[in-house]
Symmetry: C2
Subunit: 106 residues, 2 copies
Amino acid sequence: MGAMTETLVHPERSEIQIEAVLQALADPVRLRIVRELARIGCDGVACGAIDLPVTKSTRTHHLRILREAGVIHVRPVGTSRITTLRRDDLDALYPGLMNGILAGVG
Amino acid sequence: MGAMTETLVHPERSEIQIEAVLQALADPVRLRIVRELARIGCDGVACGAIDLPVTKSTRTHHLRILREAGVIHVRPVGTSRITTLRRDDLDALYPGLMNGILAGVG
């Protein structure tokens, strides 16, 4: 139950740092998560619903880095977690950044 | 003379990888270099002309990471090096990315 009851810290929009955002995105697994969240849209997705070739603990690690950088929002719902891209915050802070990253195939 | 005669490797546009670009940009000193190059524009700048609170070897290290990621182009001219942002390549590959990063103050 520990993992379900821990506090999920999210930076406020004003606390988001560009270096942390870029660091969080500079990883193939995390980019894949972000692209999948962008594709799915704003209704959110249970973490497990994103197909990733990594273990659960690795997935948890990557989601934490994205969350702490301000890239995603994670909301516990029952025994699941609903994950959404903080597109509004990122677009307001760095207009074009997410579009560019999502457009890039490299 | 060694540093002046070494081959400066630059990835082709098709070889540029988003993870390497983001990793290269995810550093305060390198972000500062990139923002300064963007401010100066396309005529290029001798590396030493960018005021940075770091040693020469640290500066060289950061410029190499940016160059190898495909973010900047470095051209030896006499005993200097002219450094330019590869804005055309980055805008073609990741439209909006550089705008977003340059807009961000965080």
